[in-house]
Symmetry: C2
Subunit: 165 residues, 2 copies
DNA sequence: AAAATACCGACTAGAGAGGTCGGACTTGGC
DNA sequence: GCCAAGTCCGACCTCTCTAGTCGGTATTTT
């Protein structure tokens, strides 16, 4: 269903939060602060933040009054960066990452087209920066939903609920 | 990791296969034929095809020498149609489908922006038809991969392997 | 030294995906 | 009319992966 993991969600929330704090006096925020503000388990939030440090998106300060802050200006960090830091590289199909992950490699007839689609999705996520996210969520949090709902028409009748899961 | 399920993969493979058969003398193909050609478990392939029938993308003929064929011309069936028929509606985040799936609904600061991203992805998948897929996979199966590999650079250094899983 | 924080790995529970089985219904041939 | 082949359908099992937890260590401030 093309869903991203909850850890990636948390990562985006944290990055968004830190992006807004950026530039203020106390730019460094502790894992506990963020976790409590958004009702996220502290340990899990910490784990996510640590991974973001390891991938270079955040820098951390240890010890009392330590915390996390962005390593780069938010305009230079894309949504794709954050998601891939947590969930690993995008793999639309099983054979997206490596060459021979699936048995059907030689017989598969959709590999090429799906690669193109994957690239378009990556490009989409790559063009949205954390700064844009922070700005959008700050200014117009509710208007966005209403704007996109009326675009949800599909080509065929797949919209009334395949009823699975 | 934003991956689509294997059933959706199989569905695309089958649709692609049927799209090429379209117009030939024996347009109807049995589940076993497709399954054996692509090394997919027969029962699973049948299950996927049946679901495609239920959602109206395929029509089936019962009995001996029965099988499946497209219900519409392949140009009018999008990749999004096929995926949603199998995996249900796209849900980039937990709160993509309904309003209050997640606890953090009121506090979430990334909901609006993620909705926009979701819509872009859906639009991307909606613009690619099965006919295009069939044409691409037929003409240039290998050239596509090489073209996209050199675009895989990230903004930060997240490319050397977050090493998770 | 004590408190607060980041850091790290291992572990568990639950959900969901992938895959399998058995049976009912339909069609074609004898 | 009967049997074989094939589709159709729902229930079931199994295994992976995700979300979340726990314990311990290192580092800095007070």
């Amino acid at each position: 269903m093309l869903r991203l993991s909850k850890k990636a969600d948390y990562a985006l929330i944290a990055m968004n939060h830190l992006a807004r704090k950026q530039g203020s006096a106390a730019a460094s925020t502790s894992a506990r602060d963020i976790a409590e503000r958004y009702d996220i388990p502290i340990e899990l939030m910490a784990k996510v933040l640590q991974r973001l440090v390891r991938t270079g998106l955040l820098v951390s300060t240890q010890g009392t009054r330590g915390g996390y802050m962005l390593s780069r200006p938010p305009v230079s960090i894309s949504v794709a960066d954050v998601i891939q830091a947590i969930d690993g590289p995008f793999t639309v199909t099983a054979c997206s990452t490596d060459k021979h992950d699936c048995e059907q490699y030689s017989k598969c007839n959709v590999r090429g087209p799906l690669w193109q689609i994957r690239e378009r999705i990556v490009a989409t996520l790559g063009t949205v920066s954390i700064a844009e996210m922070a700005a959008e969520s700050d200014s117009a949090p509710a208007a966005v939903e209403l704007a996109v709902v009326r675009r949800s028409g599909m080509t065929a009748n797949a919209g009334h609920g395949p009823r699975q899961g």
